[in-house]
């Protein structure tokens, strides 16, 4: 199971006076079970790139393979691809339309043509995965808080039981509690259900904490691709792209300058804590 992109080129409005090159010959392979953090400043082509992965937009040139099958080849079922590669857009709560929550979550599996019992089973399972119990089923989406609405919307995608889950800034506009809830649930899906996760985020702390692989986009190109530790070593270059390294990285560099013998590769708060304690004990 993998998604392979070969030289994906996408140009917005190619025959007008203002063509925009959104992705520029991007080649990538996404393996099974990875947790990928995708970062880049606004307009770097992240959102365009992820929409290619489930065939929502067709590249101007280049090929996309899902399990080594060309998704624009003959006999490839787009519907099946979209059920295997779930995409949660930014502010997904804006897509809720049914009068109650359970029916809205049922929309996805119903579109797959499954029998009614299976549709309900999947919807209830998906709602349970995002921590919404039975008492919520009959409520209107308007009766929920922002964080709850978003979890329902994510359940709407999970109900299709995808193998790959792509989330475009799932925590934008949420308070710290709502943010942690969503990220921890995503982590749980990755660990317990072996789901492949692609997390688009502007928070370096979040990707450092959760992702095992980081992809950095700038001007439609992949600039860095590696483990978070490797990528954040380039924090100077990241800054020129309008990004940054986690705060902790800066702290470690500052400590090093003061003569502390710390390991600069600490990128999360807990790693930094261990490092600092180790150095203090040695003294």
């Amino acid at each position: 199971m993998s998604i392979r992109l070969e030289k994906i080129d996408y140009i917005y409005e190619p025959d007008t006076a203002f063509p925009v090159h959104a992705t520029d010959h991007v080649s990538l392979t996404i393996h099974d079970g990875e947790f990928i953090g995708l970062i880049g400043h606004t307009g770097s082509g992240k959102s365009t790139l992820i929409q290619h992965l489930n065939g929502l937009i067709r590249p101007t040139s280049g090929k996309i393979y899902y399990n080594d099958k060309d998704i624009y080849g003959d006999g490839f079922s787009m519907k099946e691809l979209r059920s295997k590669v779930g995409l949660v857009f930014q502010y997904p709560e804006h897509q809720l339309f049914e009068s109650d929550i359970l029916s809205d979550v049922c929309f996805g599996p119903k579109n797959l043509g499954l029998p009614k019992e299976e549709v309900e089973r999947r919807a209830k399972h998906a709602l349970a995965l995002v921590g919404m119990d039975e008492s919520f089923y009959g409520l209107s989406p308007f009766e929920l808080s922002g964080g709850q609405k978003r979890r329902v919307a994510i359940a709407g995608v999970l109900a299709m039981e995808p193998e790959v889950l792509i989330l475009d800034e799932p925590t934008a506009g949420l308070d710290p509690k709502g943010r942690d809830e969503i990220l921890n649930q995503v982590k749980k899906l990755h660990e317990e259900n072996q789901m492949t996760i692609i997390l688009v985020s502007h928070s370096m702390e979040d990707v450092a904490r959760f992702a095992s692989r980081l992809i950095v986009m700038d001007h439609g190109k992949v600039q860095f691709d590696g483990t978070p530790t490797e990528v954040f070593r380039h924090y100077k270059e990241l800054e020129t792209m309008g990004l940054a390294a986690p705060q902790v990285t800066y702290l470690m560099h500052a400590l090093k300058e003061k003569g502390w013998d710390v390991n600069l590769d600490a990128i999360t708060v807990s790693q930094a804590k261990e490092e600092i304690l180790r150095v203090i004990k040695k003294k």
């Binding site: 929409q51 979209r82 857009f89």
Partner: protein, 267 residues
Amino acid sequence: MIRDITLGQYYPIGSPIHRLDPRTKLAGTLIFIIALFVAKGLWAYIIATIFLGAVIRVSKVPLSYMVRGLKSIVILLLFSVVFNIFFIRDGVVLVQIGFITITAGGLIQAAYMAVRLIYLIIGSTLMTLTTTPNDLTDGLEKSLGFMKKIHVPVHEIAMMMSIALRFIPILIEETDKIMKAQMARGADFESGNLIQKAKAMVPLLVPLFISAFRRASDLAMAMEARCYHGGDGRTKMKPLRYQKNDKIAYGILLFFLVLMILLRLVG
């Protein structure tokens, strides 16, 4: 697919036409339309063609943009041409099969009608391509200001128009986003019969309406927070003033109109 709407799409480029006062362009479009209906005879059409061609040239807008606007009237155009060909009996008979009679006069009339309609659309498209929607409503508000005396809420109408125009691209983008979000959940907007297609629109329309209402309410709040209270006593940051170029433009327009009237009287 939804991006093919030319009317109301401004083409941002600096040209003498772009810099004209919107009132001049509104009046100019009106004069051009009147002139087209006054036009009679080959010479009048040649002059109208030269006039339109020159304005397009000066505006620096690619011709393809105007041609795109014509797509919407293809059917209307075909209708009027066919009717003119078959029903005008004038001059030499060219073809006669049964009850169908095609005359030279009919053909000429049909050609004139087609040219007239095409020029009409190109003329008004040219105005919207060279004037920002905001300028356009400003111009309309000022030109129709006299109607305030008979209690027509000109300012309010102009404000509503400019807000509506401003919202078109936002709503198009929003539609695109919601459509994709629902397609990611397996929605299918293309296949099925008419009823199935209409049903498939529900997951698109409901969120779209909710978002439109939310935006409208946010905008109303933001306007009130800045003490908006309607048109009375409101001044403008950039009041419309006629420049030298506008006077020249009016001169050319009048000359053009008089010429067309003269050609009709002579011909």
